[in-house]
């Protein structure tokens, strides 16, 4: 177990480092340096101002020095300074991250609940019609654009019926509606994968043995099938972090919530490269950490994972 842990954490660090290096290289591919780009967005600026700012931000140093300096900064939590506000990137992001974390976190939990309930209902129902309807919901969910659903709900709830404020006012609905909008898109892949792996689990002989023991349908589903089927769904969970983040940006914009969404929007429109760089790194890190957690959870779900470590694939996780 210890070896597995060290191995996975090492891999995670490697990925973050690679992400940083890629972002750094991408910035070098820009036609000019970040400061020049930033200052020349709207109008021509004199060269002296550009040079002063360049040396302030360290963009006049040789590339290797810049690379190592920024890398060292990462470890001490220093992501550099935003060109637009002069604030440190860390402060700029941490100031609003809480709101996004609250939105994304609640949306994720809601999405898992929606997916599990949907799959439970589809599996346990005796009606073929109900089952067919439920099975077709996830593809529908993933086909609905987040901004469209958000706008439609705003139109209905705020403008037609007036039960919800157009802007966040701390009321239950003003958090619940964005959460639901985001949860629906995130629950779609979870439910789809879970449905598939649950139906695969139900093809296995041990389900017959459970029925022969006298277990009821819901006993079998909640106590056995779900845990067996959770593996592939957990993998997808790691991947939905991307959807979750992208969805938050859109949802925040639609519902006029402050959060990382607005920071991303500003950073991109003002061409604030250090801030964009920080945001990309943050996303990559979150992605890596979530997937690390997923990997560490696997052995708890399926004891065969650790056994087969290094010796070929484990006997089908169910996929």
């Amino acid at each position: 177990m210890a070896r597995y842990l060290v191995q996975r954490i090492g891999q995670a660090l490697l990925v973050v480092w690679l992400a940083y290096t890629l972002v750094f290289l991408a910035v070098q591919l820009l036609p000019s340096d970040p400061v020049t780009i930033f200052l020349t967005v709207d109008s021509a600026v004199d060269q002296a101002a550009i040079d002063t700012m360049k040396s302030q931000y360290g963009y006049d140093q040789p590339l290797v020095v810049q690379y190592l300096h920024q890398l060292a900064g990462l470890f001490s939590g220093d992501f550099g300074y935003s060109l637009a506000s002069g604030q440190s990137v860390r402060d700029r992001i941490s100031g609003v991250a809480g709101s996004t974390v609250a939105l994304a976190g609640s949306a994720f939990v809601t999405a898992v609940v929606i997916a599990v309930l949907l799959v439970a209902a589809a599996t346990l129902t005796r009606s073929g019609v109900v089952r067919r309807v439920l099975v077709n919901l996830p593809p529908l969910f993933s086909a609905i654009p987040v901004f469209w659903l958000g706008l439609v709900l705003l139109e209905l709830l705020s403008i037609r019926w007036g039960v919800m404020s157009l802007f966040p006012d701390g009321s239950f609905l003003s958090l619940a509606v964005p959460v639901l909008v985001l949860a629906i898109i995130v629950s779609a892949p979870l439910a789809q994968v879970l449905l598939k792996s649950v139906s695969h689990v139900y093809d296995q002989p041990f389900i017959d043995v459970l029925r022969a023991k006298g277990a009821s349908r819901s006993w079998i589903f909640f106590r056995h099938a779900l845990k067996n089927a959770a593996g592939p769904a957990l993998t997808i969970t790691g991947i939905t972090v991307g959807t979750l983040f992208a969805g938050s940006v859109i949802t925040e914009t639609v519902f006029a919530r402050s959060g990382l969404g607005s920071v991303v929007l500003q950073a991109v429109t003002t061409q604030d490269v250090p801030l964009v760089q920080g945001l990309v790194l943050l996303t990559a890190t979150v992605f890596v950490v979530v997937n690390l957690v997923v990997d560490l959870l696997y052995p708890l779900l399926d004891p065969r994972i650790l056994k087969s470590n290094g010796q070929g694939a484990p006997r089908a996780l169910t996929a």
Binding site: Q204, P205, F206, V209, K213, A215, N228, P303
Partner: protein, 582 residues
């Protein structure tokens, strides 16, 4: 076994005779089950009447598709969604199972009817501990006062000891993948017996296990059934096992019962023609000492396959595992050499090294005198023209999306042999060689029967003109009558084409029929080799004797007289009786 075996004499006027125990526990009357599939229905069980007395052990025998599994599943209420009971009733004691509500059935399953499933490997929840799966039965059927964890745990430990599992305390915390197949089946038997049910359905409980394990498991099973007075409906395709362990045999064919009588009566004189054929195929054969030998009789000095000191190590994390240890043998051209042994004995690893799909750690492999131990990639490709594999499971060894003709023709395409027209001519020729009607050429594997699929696999192996075939458990998935037909085909091909077979099997009955020489493997070692008659008649190693003693079919062998005498009378040649055997 069971003490009170009901002996109601059958009505002499009936051709099909049914046993009627005096106080039946289970009564099936006029049962009819149909499967719906894409709007069409097929009848799997067609008007079955069956009674099983208390404590009686009844074997339900038949080939796949005979409806035996459907009947068993109807009784315990595990029919798949597509199946429907359209007529008849099933009663257990005073309870009518066919009209009971689902809730009541849940109370009956596990408590009054138990199940020992077919495939122990996949019949335990892989992500729950053995202990929790054993305790689950008690939690599902609490029966009165809530019992403490301690009380349940004691019961579970007692059960594990009952089925002969060592270190029970430790087993409770283990997961299914940490147990061998035999141990898993013992756990499943413990689960089935935990509430001492009146009736047990055992659905091919040992067909996935090695013979030596099978013998031990069946012994445990029989002992417990006797101890608890449990009636057992023992579903099997293996007549040898059925005759050894049951008091009464029910033979099913195409959804109907064709014979239902005590074992002794059936062995003495089967009423039904189909039963007679099954018995004939399952019994040891007196080898017809005919002149199959003559075909390739010129003295061939160079063996088709020769291995010297073959060794294979597998390296896990830190631990070495020697799968094959210093194995040497030779196979003369045009003969059949069988490797027998339990799973894990290294026989398949040996075969894969000979096929050059796996590199040996040490030792030499010679094919027709040529050393191929270190053959290059392109040399191996040439090698595979003359050396081919027929795999265990024809279902998964054939691409389900390709037509039969494409499957057989694929090797020709891979090796860019001939023009399109020549290739189709060759495919037609191969189809004829394996006795498949040309009409099947356009069908896909799923539309074929198991035997037909195995013929397709054989034809594919022969496509490039292979002279040596490695048959890895090639007949294990087939019913006994189909097995006989494929065996006859293999014998004919051997005679016509002078083929050499390396036959891997755990089925001693088949091995005895097909082999010229036999090698017995155990834990990577070749413990014994010799002509078939010698191995089966007069084995020199203790292990071979254990293996032979575990081979089911004692009563069948007793029936067909002195086997050893018969085997000695005919020197080792693969003799195969086709279906037309008397």
């Amino acid at each position: 076994m069971n003490t009170a075996e009901p002996r109601v004499h059958p009505d002499a006027s009936q051709t099909r005779t049914f046993q009627r125990p005096a106080d039946p526990l289970l009564q099936v009357r006029g049962l009819r089950v149909e499967y719906r599939h894409h709007g069409s229905t097929t009848t799997a069980v067609d008007g079955i009447d069956l009674a099983v007395g208390r404590g009686e052990i009844v074997a339900l025998v038949g080939e796949s598709g005979s409806g035996k599994s459907t009947l068993a599943k109807s009784i315990i209420g595990l029919l798949p969604r597509a199946a429907e009971r359209t007529a008849g009733s099933i009663t257990l004691g005073d309870t009518d199972l066919t009209s009971a509500r689902e809730k009541d059935l849940e109370g009956i399953r596990g408590r009054r009817i138990g199940l020992v499933p077919q495939d122990p490997g996949a019949s335990l929840d892989p992500v729950r501990t053995i202990g929790s799966q054993l305790a689950e039965v008690f939690r599902l059927h609490p029966d009165g006062a809530r019992r403490s964890r301690k009380a349940v745990r004691d019961d579970v430990l007692r059960l594990l000891e009952l089925v002969g599992i060592d270190r029970p305390e430790e087993r409770l915390r283990q997961y299914p993948h940490e147990l061998s197949g035999g141990l898993k089946q013992r756990v499943l038997i413990a689960i089935a017996f935990s509430l001492q049910p009146d009736l047990l359905i055992a659905d091919e409980p040992t067909s996935a296990l090695d013979v030596t394990v099978q013998a031990k498991i069946l012994e445990v099973f029989e002992r417990l059934a006797g101890e608890f007075g449990t009636a057992v409906l023992f579903v099997t395709h293996d007549l040898a096992v059925a005759t050894d362990h049951a008091a009464r045999i029910v033979v099913m064919q195409r959804g109907r019962i064709v014979e239902d009588r005590p074992v002794a009566d059936i062995l003495a004189a089967p009423d039904d023609e189909y039963t007679a054929r099954l018995l004939e195929e399952a019994s040891p054969h007196r080898r017809p000492a005919e002149a199959r030998t003559a075909s390739t009789a010129e003295p061939v000095t160079v063996p088709a396959i020769e291995v010297r000191g073959l060794t294979k190590d597998f390296r896990g994390k830190g631990e070495h595992h020697r799968a094959v240890d210093d194995v040497s043998f030779g196979v003369a051209q045009g003969t059949t050499f069988s490797l027998v042994g339990e799973s894990g004995s290294g026989k398949s690893t040996t075969a894969r090294m000979i096929l050059r799909l796996l590199d040996p750690t040490a030792g030499q492999i010679l094919l027709h005198g040529e050393d191929v131990t270190t053959a290059s990639r392109s040399r191996k490709r040439e090698l595979w023209r003359s050396l081919q594999l027929v795999y265990q499971n024809p279902d998964s060894a054939l691409d389900p999306r390709l037509a039969v003709s494409d499957i057989i023709g694929e090797p020709l395409l891979n090796y860019r042999v001939g023009t399109g027209a020549e290739r189709s001519a060759r495919v037609a020729e191969l189809l004829e060689q394996v006795d498949l009607p040309v009409a099947l050429a356009g069908k896909r594997p799923l539309e074929l029967s198991g035997g037909q699929r195995q013929r397709v696999a054989i034809a594919r192996a022969l496509a490039l003109g292979a002279r040596t075939l490695v048959l890895d458990e090639a007949l294990s998935a087939l019913d006994v009558l189909t097995q006989a037909q494929v065996l006859a085909l293999l014998a004919d091909l051997q005679q016509d084409l002078g083929l050499t077979y390396l036959f891997i099997s755990h089925d001693l009955h088949v091995v005895e029929q097909i082999s010229t020489t036999v090698g017995v493997m155990r834990q990577g070692h070749l413990v014994e080799t010799g002509p078939t008659a010698q191995i089966f008649g007069n084995p020199s190693s203790d292990y071979t004797r254990v293996l032979l003693a575990s081979n089911p079919g004692h009563r069948l062998r007793a029936r067909s007289g002195s086997r050893t005498a018969a085997a000695h009378a005919h020197t080792a040649r693969p003799g195969l009786s086709a279906l037309s055997a008397p």
